[in-house]
Symmetry: C2
Subunit: 698 residues, 2 copies
Amino acid sequence: MSLAAMLKPRSIAIIGASSNKTRVGGIPMDLLLRAGFEKVFPVNPKNTEIQGRPCFPDIESVPEPVDLVLLAIGADEVLPNLERCHARGIPAAIVFAAGFAETNEAEGIARQEALSRFTKRTGMRVAGPNCMGNANFGDNVFTTFGTSFQPGDPAGGTALLTQSGNMCATVYRMARRAGVAFSHVINTGNEADVEFSDYLAFLAEDPATNAALCYIEELRDGPAFLKAAAAFRAAGKLLTVYKVGASEKGAEAARSHTAALAGDTAAYDAAFSAAGVARVSELGGLADLAYLHTFGSKIAGSACAILSVSGAAGAILSDALSLNGGDVPSFPESVQAPLRASIPAFGMVSNPVDLTGNLVNANDFLFEAVNLALSPDNIDVLVVFLPGYFLDRAIPQLERAAAEARKQIIVVDTFALGDRAKLGAAGIAYFDDFDRAARAICAYGAWKKTAAASLDKSVVSANWPEFPAGEPALTETAAKEALAAFGVPVVHDAIVHSRQEAEDAAARIGFPLVAKLVSPDVAHKTEHGLIRLALKHADEVGAAYAEMVAKAQSMPGVRIEGVTLEPMLTGGVEILAGVTRDPVFGWMLTVGLGGVWTELMKDVRHRLLPVNASGAEAMLRGLKGFQLLDGYRGAPKADVAAAAQAIAALCDAALAGGDALREIEINPLLILPVGRGAVAVDALVLLNLPAKAMEEAA
Amino acid sequence: MSLAAMLKPRSIAIIGASSNKTRVGGIPMDLLLRAGFEKVFPVNPKNTEIQGRPCFPDIESVPEPVDLVLLAIGADEVLPNLERCHARGIPAAIVFAAGFAETNEAEGIARQEALSRFTKRTGMRVAGPNCMGNANFGDNVFTTFGTSFQPGDPAGGTALLTQSGNMCATVYRMARRAGVAFSHVINTGNEADVEFSDYLAFLAEDPATNAALCYIEELRDGPAFLKAAAAFRAAGKLLTVYKVGASEKGAEAARSHTAALAGDTAAYDAAFSAAGVARVSELGGLADLAYLHTFGSKIAGSACAILSVSGAAGAILSDALSLNGGDVPSFPESVQAPLRASIPAFGMVSNPVDLTGNLVNANDFLFEAVNLALSPDNIDVLVVFLPGYFLDRAIPQLERAAAEARKQIIVVDTFALGDRAKLGAAGIAYFDDFDRAARAICAYGAWKKTAAASLDKSVVSANWPEFPAGEPALTETAAKEALAAFGVPVVHDAIVHSRQEAEDAAARIGFPLVAKLVSPDVAHKTEHGLIRLALKHADEVGAAYAEMVAKAQSMPGVRIEGVTLEPMLTGGVEILAGVTRDPVFGWMLTVGLGGVWTELMKDVRHRLLPVNASGAEAMLRGLKGFQLLDGYRGAPKADVAAAAQAIAALCDAALAGGDALREIEINPLLILPVGRGAVAVDALVLLNLPAKAMEEAA
């Protein structure tokens, strides 16, 4: 059901309304009246009039239809009042009260569960509890007890959506200082019913909104977020996100604060990347990106030309842009030559351009220099450093250039003396700090460049055999058989149950070969000596069989299902590919080079499922160690395309596995030279024990 | 010679003085007079009076002794006037004029060379040319045509030393906004005579200065910088550095701007680390560290306790501190329990502490919470987030706590509403941005923790044999022999000159063995098939001999000096260790794990020489892949101590090599299991060709 009644109400009742304009029941009343909102109905049995309006003893007495009710009452009174509001036909409510799940105490948790049951049963849309409420500037609706937003604040196209009241106020103030004006400000609270992504979906459709700034601690519904983000992309609206919890300590604090699902940091990264959001690493970045977006139509990327009257500023900006992922391409000779003609020999002209202090005497040249710097096709944006004492004199030329340019001009003035408003009126963006400017340009440009990764389709080409009841894992043999049905090439093997059988089978498979003990009870066999490599004769195979079985028999609780024999493949490069389930976003694929590369260097890539072959290949090519697959030091190139096909098949298998499947890891996936394919040498399939078995195990 | 006459002059003459207070010759006159500086002598043949003072036709006519002369005249007139000033006994001068080496043109370069010859001959100390001049606030001396510093600006303990006039003004303004007051501001210009580190050495001794903020593009004298930095450490003064050129583009722009020596980025990093400076990555960090230093005596490190009234702020601060290298240690139960007693269940108490909005009703608790949070021994600093609307009410309790605390309290107020001055008076630092606060705390805390790496002593234990004239490199055999004399263990080998000799020697050395062609003309032999591994029989050795010689004979210009045979060692881990010469800082050691680790993962560590064994061991332990040396996956631990000894011996050898030595690389240095040592398997010694030979080669 739409959130229009909540976010664009035509009439509002306030239960617990107060005459005191500093109290939770008085502030929204005051704000609404000052904003000229007509249909406000205070409800309070103790009063007949509040803030100059007639007050009603109960919600039933309100004489007109009500779109939205604000509950400025204690936690205990919330549910009975919501029932009466629902009976009265009111479609939406905002609950300010704390005392619900955020208390981490049984009573509050029970209260919130009851609230959730109520909304599921009735379909009434309820914001909060434990939220600060919202503001809709275009329609002059202030349904909040926060005081950072005031009637008379200008309305604009930016929405602010946060999971913290304090950060809501902080980002609002930062963005207002930059001149950003807002459509909506929304603080979500406990999200018992209306959830973060519900608001986001509303904003994607809202004609008044062209950008959303999000402060996120934890998301409760990953797929809904991805869907809302896709709607933002489709509408060409900016979606920019600050996510707290990038460090272990920060994640712990965020979880403690929200009591939401604990998604994995890597899964959030993968989700934001798949969703094509503009990610910022500092809270102030939200305000800076909103500010840039007000100029945004002329920014196509983050390849920058730099003009300055200071070689130092050019160098600092080059550093800051490069280190934040932007680019400072050198100019072609056709640009350098005319610059050189007017710039002294000590001024650099290749980009950055140092116009030198001589510009003081040749101010007219600035217009020409701007046009030259913007002319190459591979330049997206022009960054100009002009210290304040100089800037105001230069404004007329910058205005003239900006009027004609089809690319954005951005001024950096570390002296903070320039006329920001005048530049803004001319369509020129303004920053007073090198690094903030660089971070914003790079994040915004990257967002403009990135088409949202189109989520691949899953092709369910096979079925899993029935999973063995009560087992935590499939045997390796069963795992490889099942994966093979989905199209993952696997090493074929024999399973043997006696020394004699081993020696006979070995002769058929050929040498060298690998012997592995089969048991559902040992996950990492190398450490236990239960894998033997490079066995060259039937005798060696027989001896290995006997030793491994003896070793396994000595380990308590280890069932022995036999020993597999497989050919030992030589050449090729080993990688690992695995899928795990994130509690928020679901299946996530991890690929990396084997062993130390993953363990010590953390050289892995993550992506949410589904992933098709071209997605998998992009992940492999994104590894720092990809050169090892690509003919490093004269080795043959590995069959990356075949590996990507195998990884895509792994992903299909995961999606077909249902809730019983917990994790699949192929390690190693051996990638042979081009034309010879890739093959899963070992595979691990972990299952979810039913809840009962889990309890017993714990 | 001391810079006192330049930076603390008692009398000043201005050649080219002007009545126009906006011109280069008029501004310093105006500033000095407004500052109440008595002994100013304008010199200009066209005037008899300037700005109310008698003006002299030439320097010889000035009736009193002059400490410092300012030259506000064109580049051509500089040298003749300096000669006259010197003849007049004036010990110091500042040259404002551009038109010297910065022009990149022959005339200007020649002018600067003449200036340098003059100062070397006379001993006169000359600042600039092409500089903005200086200000000394304590003594009211303004010898600059910059207008960002004004008489009446407060004097303080911070010095600003920059290689860019614009950045000088920028950082000054930033720091003034934070309330930092200055002793000196110095802009160095072309540094034809007085060089960056000369000023730094002066400031290290200057009783008025307790901190220096440095903007550096390139240093001309690395050893002098290290010495001045050591003097700062010894005096307990803060030395904080922003170095431009961290990216390739930024480095290119900085070099173009200064025409100084192009030091390597890694060498600067190694030098700053050895010098124990506080490094900042954003220009604003200089101002923030100067600000923190005004509180600095209570800050011992960057392990932070965090108190907030917002779980979000606690999480954001935890992220920002952790990601910048700080720490947020969990509190012991003795701190958590009393906090828990007063904080609702939904407020985290383990650090960060979320006091929750309930603090509004229990303001007295803040004093107690601050004391609890500061009590653990492993906490260095307390960071408090109180939004502005709350902060002012809390100030009395913070003041009381700060008065008693032996650790620093830092307030972050993202609403920027708090009373910064009042907090400052109570000894409480204030930031209005999470990330700036975190970056400053972490950089400052790290600086406090770091004792400057005491530069190791070099032990010259041997001599190099005479280097072969005109050769670019030693043969491998000669290289290993020479390094062995310095104490580097090397693989012993035989050198053979015929197939028969090879087969005979091989039998004596034992199998498996490695054969390598010896030639001064091939640096990387593996690529050319001139190294053969794992030869197992005399026949194989003979065949390898014949094939390599044939291959080398087919390569034009390759002289063949024979073939070496050496035992092939198995087990152990290969690393590389090499020394190269940086043009600014001299010899620099690089160590890393071999092959892909270095090439693809850039997992290397750098340090300036001298390096002793404990320094080398610290570098090895700092590698991401160090676990590979430390018993990874059950492998035997490598003899790291022996490797460190070998690396220290390599460093001694480099320092003993004199100017003719260009580079030494041991690759691989094979580290055997503990107790079995480390051994140089291959070594490369590159020599500097004499200048003449270099020209011919080019």
